[in-house]
């Protein structure tokens, strides 16, 4: 859990969003055992950060190789993947002025 606190220095810093040392983008975990390379996730990803590569049985989804991909951890890929092969496992935090406060873990809806 992060500290729910924004220092004055952080508040004054507008990060440059290309340095993974200073900011975290969303990330997905793809289970290649389950993925059949149908490409639905890549088709709808708003950050254009998924693609499918390989042929036949080796056709699988991958996340693009970019220091800071445009993934906003929306999990729309998780929703459209009916094979349960993909989910966002890291949520974004761009730090500085945009540092995310008061965050907890990723979790599905809970029916209390």
């Amino acid at each position: 859990m992060e500290m729910a606190f924004l220092s004055l220095k952080e508040r004054m810093t507008i990060p440059t969003y290309d340095d993974p040392e200073r900011c975290t983008s969303g990330r997905v975990a793809i289970d290649h055992e389950r993925c059949n390379g149908c490409g639905n996730c890549a088709l709808i990803c708003p950050g254009a950060c998924l693609y499918v590569a390989g042929v036949g049985k080796d056709k699988k989804a991958y996340m693009i190789d970019k220091p800071v991909p445009d993934c906003m951890s929306c999990n729309d890929c998780m929703a459209i993947c009916k094979r349960g092969a993909i989910r966002a496992d890291v949520t974004y935090d761009f730090g500085g002025f945009y540092k995310v406060l008061h965050r907890g873990e990723l979790c599905p809806p809970r029916n209390f």
Binding site: A4, I14, P15, T16, Y17, D18, C23, N40, L43, I44, P46, G47, A48, D70, M72, S73, C74, N75, D76, M78, A79, I80, K82, R87, A88, T91, Y92, F94, F97, Y98, H102, R103, G104, E105, L106, C107, P108, P109, N111, F112
Partner: protein
């Protein structure tokens, strides 16, 4: 003969009423650990849809969705919204092109990684992030380049678009009212088998004199949001994981933190 038919119809009606009651039985009451009721299901399974079928949505269905917006709560019941419905494919295509062109200009001015302006673009981005930090948040900032490069669409090929204009003279905080109104329509649409996507990038139309006139974006109206509407390709709706957020919970004279 007619009598027996009437009776049969009565029985049918009663059956239907029973069926309706059985369905609604899950509504308006709570029991610990019960499964989701239909309204909760729609709320939790709704996802933004970014791939649509070509098939147009029947006019009546769009009208029905708009009704859900009309009955949204608003501060002082001032209903500070005006809807513009666009179902003309050519017009949607033109809008798409316009926004892409504008995003190319914005990318040129701001994207220091790719713009030939280099450090000047970096300076531009730093200054504008301080002036309009919400619009320059890294996600919309990144989306400008994605749209400019054709990797992200504006309306995602939806055959119907609802634009929501806000009456700037609305009571208290009209932007909040507009958001509530839009989400009413979005949820109604999903419950009727449609897909939707909020489109904040309609903001870009404020740069276009021609579009402002055509869409009626003139005092006292401001275009705040758009909603793409159509039949989704595949099954994009579904429950997912989202981050929990810390909640301050005051009770019995002390504060607890819950998630």
């Amino acid at each position: 003969m007619t009598e027996t038919m009437d009776k049969e119809i009565d029985v049918q009606d009663e059956d239907e009423a029973q069926e309706q009651k059985r369905k609604l039985g899950e509504m308006y009451a709570w029991q610990e650990g019960m499964s989701w009721n239909p309204v909760e299901r729609v709320i939790l399974e709704r996802r933004s849809v970014r791939k649509y079928k070509d098939r147009q949505v029947p006019e009546k269905l769009v009208r029905r969705v708009l009704e859900a917006g009309r009955f949204a709560p608003s501060a002082g019941n001032s209903q500070p919204w005006r809807f513009v419905v666009v179902r003309d494919r050519e017009m949607i295509e033109e809008m798409e092109k316009y926004v892409r062109l504008r995003c190319r200009v914005l990318k040129f001015l701001l994207n220091w990684q790719e713009s030939p302006l280099g450090r000047l673009a970096w300076l531009n981005s730093q200054v504008s992030a301080r002036l309009i930090p919400n619009l320059m948040h890294p996600i919309p900032f990144g989306a400008i380049s994605l749209i400019a490069d054709g990797k992200l669409k504006l309306f995602h090929g939806a055959p119907t678009v609802i634009l929501i204009l806000m009456d700037r003279r609305g009571a208290a905080k009209p932007a909040v009212d507009v958001g509530i109104c839009g989400q009413n329509m979005v949820l109604a649409a999903h419950s009727l088998g449609l897909g939707t996507c909020w489109v904040g990038f309609v903001e870009v139309f404020k740069f276009g004199t021609k579009w402002k006139k055509k869409l009626g974006i003139e005092w006292p109206y401001r275009l705040v949001e758009g909603i793409a509407l159509g039949y989704p390709v595949g099954k994009p709706d579904g429950m997912i994981e989202r981050e929990l957020r810390e909640i301050d919970w005051w009770e019995d004279g002390r504060k607890r933190i819950v998630f």
